[in-house]
Symmetry: C2
Subunit: 197 residues, 2 copies
DNA sequence: ACCGTAAGTAAATGACCACTTACAAAAATA
DNA sequence: TATTTTTGTAAGTGGTCATTTACTTACGGT
């Protein structure tokens, strides 16, 4: 899963291109123009267009695993871990809005089985990390809500993050996504710590 | 916004086609084959491919407004209204999974401004209806959670529904989506009625 | 200086794209 | 029954697609 410098450059421009023109505008011709190259040159670095798309997902996966790797194993408070995940994601999207346009657009990768398989893997990575954090938080007594199942909490957290970013994207990245992320984080924190009755 | 019988048939098959082969497989040729017609025949009913996509969103909008129209104005308990919305959505997706493949795939409509404008409208319809329900529920004392802002609750509800359906779609519609919807509904109900401390 | 490889170009390939045109049934209307 | 409208077909149109080919340039090692 190693990429050359040029491959990184191509992947980067591909993400920009998809963000700008949608999957329909993601053509080798457009990509070559964006890179200041001819179409043939791209095929020196990737053997097909599908492989570029696959590499995009792989990059996302690598990025995610770097963030989530020690998410559960370390002994920080669960709330701190969740805060870290929130901040990392929203800061990342604020910095690279075009990634936000691609990462939650599963339908881009829908047509090829090899692509959607990797999308699923990416989602599962996040789910498992969150599940693990919540579990450890419940064990330590930090997360005291026992009436809501872990699995539902995960769905709520991931779902609301995704929806927040999707709305931001649809509004052409207007507004402060980091502020939005913080509001959401506070709400999630509150839900996680409500007392049973 | 009236459609002929044949236009409905074309829209229906278009949704199926997009669900099966993605936006890249949504071609007039493929659509004609699915309808048992030639390509030219389609142009007797729609003047362009873009108009078909636009009509798909319009159908979704009409469907949504039918469900949401009286969502707020009627005087049923807020929880009952939310339950109704949940049930309607999950039953609808269980019945027509291909719609689930298209309705949450905003990136399909991304490239043309006229299309993404309508997608935003569709999302706002749902947000406003939910906001209104929660507000009326809070006024009547039914929803007693005052620590969580309405806007965040809406994001959580819509986001978790969308994510649940997206996961179901990525697993090729395996599993009981209606059961999943009910679990989610119970969680949402619980969050809405937690007591302040 | 020579050589092999990596990285580029320009042009072509056949497949497929959305859409149009000329014409023919079929159905509705008179 | 005669005529008009609707709905279809078959065969194109020019354009774009991903990919390949043959050839060229840049460069690091010996």
């Amino acid at each position: 899963m190693k990429f050359t410098e040029m491959q990184f450059k191509i992947i980067d421009k591909s993400i920009d291109l998809i963000a700008e023109r949608g999957i329909q505008g993601f053509t080798i011709k457009n990509l070559a123009a964006k890179l200041g190259l001819t179409e043939g040159a791209i095929y020196r670095h990737f053997k097909s267009k599908e492989e570029i798309l696959l590499s995009i997902i792989k990059i996302f996966q690598a990025e995610a695993s770097k963030t989530l790797e020690n998410a559960c194993s370390t002994k920080y408070p669960a709330m701190e871990k969740i805060t870290k995940i929130f901040n990392h994601h929203f800061n990342f999207f604020a910095e690279k809005p075009s990634v936000a346009s691609v990462i939650f657009s599963e339908s881009i990768f829908q047509n090829k089985h090899s692509l959607s398989k990797e999308v699923k893997k990416l989602l599962n990575m996040h789910e498992e990390a969150l599940l693990c954090i919540i579990k450890s938080g419940q064990d330590s007594g930090e997360i005291i809500n026992g009436k809501i199942r872990k699995e539902e909490l995960v769905k709520i957290i991931i779902g609301s993050i995704r929806y927040t970013v999707t709305k931001w994207r649809l509004s052409n990245f207007k507004g402060d996504i980091i502020k939005e992320g913080n509001k959401l984080l506070n709400t999630v924190k509150y839900i996680l710590t409500i007392k049973m009755d």
